[in-house]
C-alpha cells in the first residue's frame, strides 16, 4: 500500500518536474537545427520562476472566473497526467479514470481556458477561443476514435491494462493500430498547439490561437498556464510511449531498481519524441486556420477507419 502510494506520488512529482524540461529540450532541438545555439534547456524553469515572482496585472472587468481558471486548468491537466502510466503500470489510482476520462479532463481544461479567454471581452480573446473550440471539435473526436481503436484491441479502456495487454499478448502489427498512431500524433500536435496547427512562439495576431486566449494573463496565472501547457506536452508524449511503445514499463510492485530502469527508459522515449517533434516543427510551415479542419478531419477519419476495421475483422 505505502510503496504503491509512493510510486503514484513519485509519478505525479516527476511529470511536474520534467514537463518544463521537455519543452526546453524541444526548443533546444529546434534551435540547433536552425544553427542557433538557443537558450538552455532549463530556460522554461527560469521563465516560470520569474513569472511566479511578478505581480498579476488584471484587466478591469476580469471576473473571478478569470482568476480561478489557471488553477483549474493546471489541476485538470495534472490529474490527467497523473493517470497516465509514464514509467510504471498498475498505479494505485489508475482505476479512478481511464483513457476516456483523460481525454475529458483535457477537454475540461480547454473549456476553462476558452472561457477565460472570453472573460475580459477583448477581440483577441474571443478569436482565440472560437478557433480553439473549432480545432477541439475535431481533435477530441479524433482522440476518442483512436482511444476506441486501442481499447478494442486491448479489450479495455484502462491504460494500465492496455499497456499490460500490449506487453504480454502478441498484438503484432495491426493496420488499425498504425492508423491510430498516426491519428494520435496529429491530435497531439493539434492539442499542444504546435506547428502546423498553431505556433507557440508567435504573437502575430492573425495566426495565433492558444496565445490569443492567454493574452490577458500575467504573473502567476500565466505561469500556471504555461506549466499546464508543458504538462500537456509531456502527457501526450508519455501517452504515445505507453500505448505504442510500452516496453520497459515497470509492473506494480517491482523492486526500486526496476522502477529506476523504467524511469530511465521513459526519459529516453521522451527525448526521442522531443527530437522528432522539433524536426517536424521545423520541416513544415504553419497552415491557414481553415486548413486545420482538413488536417484534423484526416486524423478523425483515420481513427474511424481503424475502429471500423476492428469491428469488421472481429468474430467472423
Amino acid at each position: 500500500m505505502i510503496p504503491a502510494l509512493l510510486v503514484q506520488f513519485a509519478q505525479m512529482m516527476l511529470v511536474l518536474a520534467l514537463a518544463p524540461l521537455l519543452t526546453g529540450v524541444v526548443r533546444k532541438v529546434k534551435a540547433r537545427l536552425q544553427r542557433r545555439r538557443g537558450a538552455s534547456v532549463l530556460q522554461p524553469y527560469r521563465d516560470l520562476r520569474r513569472l511566479l515572482g511578478k505581480d498579476v496585472v488584471l484587466a478591469e472587468n476580469a471576473s473571478w472566473l478569470f482568476r480561478v481558471a489557471p488553477y483549474a486548468i493546471f489541476a485538470a491537466t495534472w490529474v490527467a497526467a497523473a493517470l497516465v502510466p509514464t514509467f510504471a503500470t498498475g498505479l494505485i489510482f489508475s482505476w479512478t479514470g481511464d483513457l476516456i476520462v483523460i481525454t475529458a479532463l483535457l477537454g475540461g481544461a480547454r473549456f476553462a481556458l476558452a472561457l477565460a479567454g472570453m472573460d475580459v471581452g477583448t477581440s483577441f480573446g474571443g478569436l482565440g477561443a472560437s478557433r480553439e473550440v473549432m480545432i477541439a471539435s475535431l481533435a477530441e473526436p479524433a482522440m476518442l476514435m483512436l482511444v476506441f481503436c486501442v481499447a478494442i484491441v486491448a479489450g479495455s479502456t484502462q491504460l494500465s491494462s492496455i499497456a499490460a495487454h500490449m506487453l504480454t499478448q502478441p498484438v503484432g502489427l495491426r493496420v488499425s493500430l498504425a492508423l491510430a498512431l498516426v491519428a494520435l500524433c496529429i491530435v497531439a500536435v493539434a492539442e499542444n498547439g504546435r506547428v502546423p496547427v498553431d505556433n507557440p512562439a508567435t504573437h502575430l495576431e492573425l495566426t495565433m490561437v492558444h496565445e490569443a486566449m492567454v493574452l490577458e494573463y500575467s504573473g502567476r496565472h500565466l505561469a500556471m498556464i504555461e506549466l499546464a501547457a508543458a504538462l500537456k506536452l509531456l502527457l501526450f508524449a508519455s501517452l504515445i510511449g505507453c500505448l505504442f511503445f510500452p516496453f520497459g514499463l515497470a509492473h506494480a510492485g517491482t523492486d526500486p531498481a526496476g522502477y529506476l530502469l523504467a524511469i530511465g527508459l521513459w526519459l529516453v522515449k521522451l527525448l526521442v519524441l522531443a527530437a522528432l517533434l522539433g524536426t517536424l516543427e521545423l520541416s513544415i510551415a504553419k497552415m491557414r486556420v481553415f486548413r486545420v479542419p482538413n488536417f484534423l478531419g484526416a486524423a478523425f477519419m483515420f481513427g474511424l477507419l481503424g475502429v471500423l476495421l476492428l469491428f469488421v475483422s472481429r468474430g467472423m
Binding site: L52, A75, G108, F111, V133, F311
Partner: protein, 665 residues
C-alpha cells in the same frame, strides 16, 4: 398507488383553481406551491416503486367496457421520478419567476394539467388511457406555448407543434390498433399476452418509433421542437425540454421493450442510425443559434439523439442475447435521461433568469452578466459544464457509460450493427465535442465579456426563490456526477426485466467506483476525480501564493496594445460560431456568407450576410405543405360551381351506382 392518485387529483384540482386564482397574486403561490408538493409526492412514490412489485388500479372511467387501467411498475417509477424532479424544480422556480408573467391566466390553469398529463402517460396501462394522457399532455403544453400569443412566431410555433403532436398521437393510435387486434384488446396486459405476427410487430414498431420520435424530437420529426420550446414561459420550457421529451422516450421503451417483447436487430440499426444523426444534427443547429432558449432547445434534440443511441445499443445487445451489454446500455440511457432532465431544467431556469434580468434572449444583446448575476452565473457554469460532459459532473458519467457500451462487444454477428456501432461512436464523440463548443459559446457570450446592451449592463440578480431553485439543480448535477454508482444501482430493478440482466452491483465497490462490466475493462470514479482536481487546484494555489507573489493590480485590458472601449469590438456570438459554421454548416445547412466590403473612401458600413437552410424542412415539410396548398387551391373551384354542375355530380353518381349494380348482377 393511492398516493400517486391523490397527487394527480390534487393537480387536477389546481388546474381548475387556476382559473379563478389567476387574478390574485396568491394564485401563483397556491398553484405552483401545490404543484411543487404534488411533484414531490410523485417523486417519492416513484422512488418507492423502483424496487417494489407492480401495483395496478382499474378506474371505472375512460373507455367503457375496458375502464382506465393504471400500473406503477419499476419503469413507470423511474420516469415518475424524472417527472417529480423536473416538475418540482420548475414549480419552485416558477414561484419566483411567475411574478413576471404578464398573463398568468394563460399559464396557471394549464400548468398543473400539463404535469398531470405527463404523470398519467407514465401510469397508463391501456391504450386508451395512454393516448388520452398523451394528447392531454400535448394540448396543455400547446396552451402554455400560446401563453404569449401576440407574436406571429408563437402562432407558427403553436401550429407546427400541435400538428406534429397530433401526428404522433395518430401514429401511436395506429400502432395500438395493430397491437390490439380485431377484437380490441386495448389493455397492455392483453397486448403483452398476444404475440403478433412478425410483420405486424415490425409495422407496430415503425409506427411507435414515428409516434414517440415525433414527440421526443427525433430527426426528421424534430422541426417543432426549436419553435415550441422557446415560445413557452421558461419554467414550462424547462418542463417540455427536460421532462416531456423523456415521457416520449418512456413511451418508446414501454412499447418496444415491454409490449412488443424482444426487439430485432434491424430495428436496432434503425434506432442507432436515427439517434446518431439526431445527436449531431441537433448540436450543429445549437451551435449556430442566436436565441438563448432556442439554443437550449436544439441541444435537447442532441441529447435525445444520445439517449436513442443508447437505447439502440440496448436493443442490439438484447437482440443478440447479450444481457450484460443490454443492461449497461439501457442503464446508460435512463441515466442520461435523468441527467438531461437535471441540467436542461437548470439551464432553462437560467435562461428564464436572464430573460427576467435583461428582457432579452438574444445573445448579441447580452454579455458580462457574471458581474451582475453572480449566483445565476455560478449555477449556469455548472449546468454548461455538465451538459458539455466534463468530469466530474453527471453528463460525463452517463456518456462515459454509453461509450463503454459501444466498446463492449465488437463481435456482433449482424453486419448492419458491425457498421453502425463504430459510426455511432464517432457521431457521439463529434456531438460531445461540439456540445462543449456550443456551451463555451453560450456561457462566454451571455455571462462573460462586456455587456452588449444597456439592458445587459443594468441587469439585476433575480429573486431568492429562483436562485434557490437553480442552486438546488446545480447541486443535483454535481451529486449525480460524483456518485453515479448509486444511480446505477437504483436503476437496476428497472433494467432487469427488459435487459434480462443488470449491471454489476456498484454499492460494494470501494470509493463508489463505476464499473460497467468488470474492473479490468475500465472504471471511472467521479468522486475521486473531483476530489483530486479540487485538492490539486487548492494545493497549487496555496503553494503559489506562499512561494510566489500574491500581489494583484487592476489595469485596462491589454488586448495586444490597442484596447477599444466599445463593447462591440469584442467577439459576438455569430463571429464566435463562424469557424464552426464554415467547417460544418456549409455541409449540413448550405450555410453561406456574403461580405460586402466598401471600397476605400466609401463611407458606408461593411455588411456581412449569412444564410443557412434547414435540409430537413426543405426536403420533407415544405413539399408536403406546398402539395396540400396546391391541391386545396385546385379543389377550391368546387366551392363556386353552378347548381347545374352540382346536379351533374348527383346525376353522375346515380348513373355510376346503377351501372355498378348492373355490372354486379
Amino acid at each position: 398507488m393511492t398516493l400517486v392518485w391523490t397527487a394527480l387529483a390534487a393537480l387536477g384540482v389546481l388546474a381548475v383553481l387556476g382559473v379563478p386564482l389567476a387574478r390574485r397574486a396568491t394564485g401563483r403561490w397556491v398553484v405552483y406551491g401545490g404543484s411543487l408538493l404534488a411533484c414531490l409526492v410523485l417523486l417519492w412514490a416513484g422512488l418507492a416503486a423502483l424496487d417494489a412489485p407492480p401495483e395496478t388500479l382499474v378506474l371505472p372511467v375512460g373507455l367503457p367496457w375496458t375502464g382506465a387501467h393504471l400500473r406503477l411498475d419499476a419503469l413507470s417509477g423511474a420516469f415518475l421520478v424524472l417527472i417529480g424532479v423536473g416538475g418540482a424544480g420548475a414549480s419552485l422556480f416558477a414561484i419566483g419567476y411567475g411574478r413576471h408573467e404578464h398573463a398568468p391566466a394563460r399559464v396557471l390553469p394549464f400548468y398543473p394539467a400539463f404535469l398531470a398529463g405527463m404523470a398519467l402517460v407514465v401510469l397508463a396501462d391501456d391504450a386508451f388511457t395512454f393516448l388520452f394522457a398523451w394528447e392531454l399532455m400535448s394540448l396543455a403544453s400547446w396552451a402554455l406555448v400560446m401563453a404569449d400569443h401576440a407574436p406571429d412566431a408563437t402562432a407558427r410555433a403553436g401550429f407546427v407543434y400541435l400538428v406534429m403532436a397530433t401526428f404522433s398521437g395518430l401514429a401511436l393510435l395506429l400502432a395500438f390498433g395493430l397491437l390490439a387486434g380485431a377484437q380490441g384488446g386495448y389493455v397492455f396486459a392483453q397486448m403483452r399476452a398476444a404475440h403478433p405476427a412478425p410483420w405486424i410487430a415490425g409495422l407496430a414498431f415503425a409506427l411507435a418509433l414515428v409516434g414517440t420520435g415525433a414527440k421526443a424530437g427525433l430527426v426528421p420529426l424534430q422541426v417543432w421542437l426549436p419553435l415550441a420550446h422557446p415560445a413557452a414561459p421558461s419554467h414550462v420550457s424547462a418542463l417540455m425540454s427536460g421532462v416531456m421529451t423523456k415521457v416520449a422516450v418512456y413511451g418508446f421503451l414501454r412499447i418496444v421493450f415491454d409490449l412488443l417483447g424482444a426487439p430485432l436487430w434491424w430495428q436496432a440499426v434503425l434506432v442507432l442510425l436515427l439517434g446518431g444523426i439526431t445527436a449531431v444534427y441537433g448540436v450543429l443547429q445549437a451551435v449556430m443559434q442566436r436565441d438563448l432558449k432556442r439554443l437550449l432547445a436544439c441541444s435537447t434534440i442532441e441529447n435525445i439523439g444520445i439517449v436513442f443511441v443508447a437505447i439502440g445499443l440496448a436493443m442490439a445487445f438484447r437482440a443478440n442475447g447479450i444481457a450484460a451489454g443490454a443492461a449497461l446500455a439501457l442503464t446508460a440511457a435512463l441515466f442520461h435521461c435523468l441527467n438531461h432532465t437535471l441540467f436542461k431544467s437548470l439551464l432553462f431556469q437560467v435562461s428564464g433568469a436572464v430573460l427576467v434580468a435583461t428582457g432579452t434572449r438574444d445573445l448579441e444583446r447580452l454579455g458580462g452578466l457574471i458581474h451582475r448575476l453572480p449566483v445565476t452565473a455560478v449555477a449556469a457554469l455548472v449546468g454548461c459544464a455538465a451538459i458539455a460532459a466534463l468530469p466530474p459532473l453527471n453528463g460525463f458519467a452517463s456518456e462515459w457509460l454509453i461509450f463503454q457500451a459501444v466498446l463492449l462487444r465488437p463481435d456482433l454477428p449482424q453486419w448492419g450493427l458491425k457498421l453502425m456501432l463504430p459510426v455511432d461512436g464517432a457521431l457521439l464523440a463529434l456531438a460531445a465535442a461540439l456540445a462543449a463548443a456550443c456551451f463555451v459559446r453560450a456561457y462566454g457570450i451571455v455571462f462573460l465579456g462586456r455587456p452588449r446592451s444597456e439592458a445587459a449592463a443594468a441587469a439585476h440578480e433575480v429573486d431568492r426563490i429562483s436562485r434557490a431553485a437553480m442552486l438546488v439543480f446545480a447541486a443535483l448535477c454535481a451529486l449525480a456526477g460524483l456518485f453515479p454508482g448509486l444511480v446505477v444501482d437504483a436503476l437496476a430493478p428497472v433494467v432487469q426485466p427488459f435487459a434480462g440482466g443488470r449491471m454489476p452491483v456498484q454499492g460494494g465497490e470501494d470509493w463508489l467506483t463505476l464499473v460497467p462490466v468488470d474492473a479490468a475493462r475500465g472504471t471511472y470514479n467521479g468522486l475521486l476525480v473531483g476530489v483530486f482536481i479540487l485538492a490539486s487546484a487548492a494545493l497549487t494555489a496555496a503553494v503559489v501564493h506562499r512561494l510566489g507573489s500574491r500581489a494583484l493590480r487592476r489595469a485596462p485590458a491589454w488586448d495586444c496594445g490597442f484596447p477599444d472601449p466599445r463593447p462591440d469590438t469584442q467577439y459576438s456570438g455569430d463571429s464566435f460560431a463562424q469557424p464552426l459554421r464554415r467547417v460544418f454548416g456549409t455541409l449540413a445547412f448550405h450555410a453561406q456568407e456574403r461580405v460586402d466590403m466598401p471600397r476605400p473612401g466609401d463611407m458606408r458600413a461593411a455588411v456581412i450576410e449569412k444564410s443557412a437552410r434547414d435540409p430537413v424542412w426543405d426536403l420533407l415539410y415544405a413539399p408536403v405543405g406546398t402539395l396540400v396548398a396546391r391541391v386545396s387551391d385546385a379543389m377550391n373551384v368546387l366551392q363556386f360551381l353552378t347548381i347545374r354542375r352540382y346536379l351533374g355530380f348527383v346525376f353522375a353518381m346515380l348513373i355510376v351506382l346503377l351501372l355498378a349494380l348492373t355490372v354486379m348482377q
